[in-house]
């Protein structure tokens, strides 16, 4: 189940990209066991040990997984994308960020 996330993180390891997990499992050990078993390396916040955790509650999450994609300026740009669609959105946002960074360096 972590296969896609793992390959995305690996492919973009040198880019300004982060996969941030918000974990609703019942104990921190559940994630730690999964991370070890599946060789998962991305940052995770532990949401209090239930699906009523404070973060999921504030964000109104009622189904798992729920995905938001945020651009480099912190703006929500996409929701609910999985698999290849997620890759595409992330790649576009990385390209957009590079274009803007590059643009700023051009002397006028």
């Amino acid at each position: 189940m972590y296969e896609h996330e793992r390959s995305l993180v690996k492919r973009l390891k040198d880019e300004k990209f982060t996969l941030l997990g918000i974990n609703s499992d019942d104990s921190p050990e559940t994630w730690e066991a999964a991370a070890k078993r599946e060789e998962l390396t991305w940052p995770v916040m532990f949401d209090g040990g239930s699906t009523d955790g404070p973060i999921a509650t504030q964000w109104g999450v009622r189904g798992w997984p729920t995905v938001y994609v945020i651009d480099a300026k912190g703006v929500i740009r996409s929701k609910g994308v999985r698999g290849a669609d997620m890759d595409e959105v992330v790649d576009e946002l990385l390209a957009e960020m590079k274009k803007e960074e590059g643009g700023a360096q051009v002397p006028r």
């Binding site: 996330e5 995305l8 880019e15 300004k16 990209f17 982060t18 996969l19 941030l20 997990g21 918000i22 974990n23 609703s24 499992d25 019942d26 104990s27 921190p28 050990e29 559940t30 994630w31 730690e32 066991a33 999964a34 940052p43 995770v44 916040m45 532990f46 949401d47 209090g48 040990g49 239930s50 699906t51 009523d52 955790g53 404070p54 973060i55 509650t57 504030q58 964000w59 109104g60 999450v61 798992w64 997984p65 729920t66 995905v67 938001y68 994609v69 945020i70 480099a72 300026k73 912190g74 703006v75 929500i76 740009r77 996409s78 929701k79 997620m86 992330v90 946002l93 990385l94 960020m97």
Partner: protein, 237 residues
């Protein structure tokens, strides 16, 4: 600022970090191997549950009246979930088990789970349980769970005006009580400050998220400013 105001602010600022102490509910060590083989069994969950259940019940009978006995019975109750595909079986079984627990373990902290596990009960049955569990002689942890279950029910029914005073009383009266690895105050505070769906729309700045890593270190969404971020709400299930 009132004490409640301070607590709400603490929740909002993310300073009310989850308490990383093992929660009170723990399966007795004797039952851990049983649970492990239940989890690892390749049988359909329902079958695995029905296989394991008599052993949990036997343990519960041998340890009647003790915390260990209660935890064994709560395991049997929670896992009625695996009967969910048999029409009414989960609800019937859960109601029977819950009544037995309520009778044999009145005023135990573990009764909080009866309030929490609304998903195994029929709506009317759960309402009846909440009524019993709200009694003033129940321990604070049980009353806290009951109040939160009621507030969540109102919240999900769209009755946020009715949910609000219940949630505020949880923050005020039960704010510091642990629920799993967080507190009732943190959860009630989150329900009081649910983001407007419009603020989570595409094109809106993502609200800050403050939390802790599984090993207890503070983390924030804004730690990743200047990067493209996929926020993935997930569980290992």
């Amino acid at each position: 600022m009132t004490a409640m105001g301070r607590r709400l602010l603490a929740v909002l600022l993310g300073t009310a970090l989850p308490v990383l102490v093992q929660a009170g509910d723990k399966l007795p060590a004797d039952l851990e191997p049983l649970e492990k083989s239940f989890k690892e069994s390749r049988k359909p969950r329902k079958e695995a549950y029905l296989d394991a259940r008599p052993q949990f019940e036997k343990y519960a009978a041998e340890h009647a009246g003790t915390e260990e006995g209660l935890q064994a019975r709560l395991w049997v109750l929670q896992n009625t979930w695996w009967l969910k595909d048999d029409k009414g079986a989960m609800e019937d079984e859960a109601a029977k088990i819950a009544d037995g627990i309520l009778k044999d373990y009145p005023k135990s902290d573990g009764l909080a789970r009866l309030a929490e596990w609304n998903y195994v009960f029929r709506k009317e049955k759960h309402a009846e349980l909440l009524e019993a569990l709200a009694a003033p002689e129940q321990p604070a942890a049980v009353r806290a769970a009951t109040a939160l279950a009621r507030a969540i029910r109102l919240h999900r029914a769209g009755e946020t005006d009715k949910a609000r005073p219940v949630l505020e009383s949880i923050v005020e009266n039960f704010g510091e009580i642990k629920r799993g690895y967080t507190t009732y105050g943190a959860i009630a505070g989150a329900y009081l400050n649910v983001h407007d769906p419009d603020d989570l729309a595409i094109g809106k700045p993502a609200p800050e998220i403050s939390g802790v890593s599984p090993d207890g270190k503070p983390m924030k969404l804004s730690d990743y400013n200047g990067r493209v971020v996929v926020i993935d709400f997930f569980g290992d299930w």
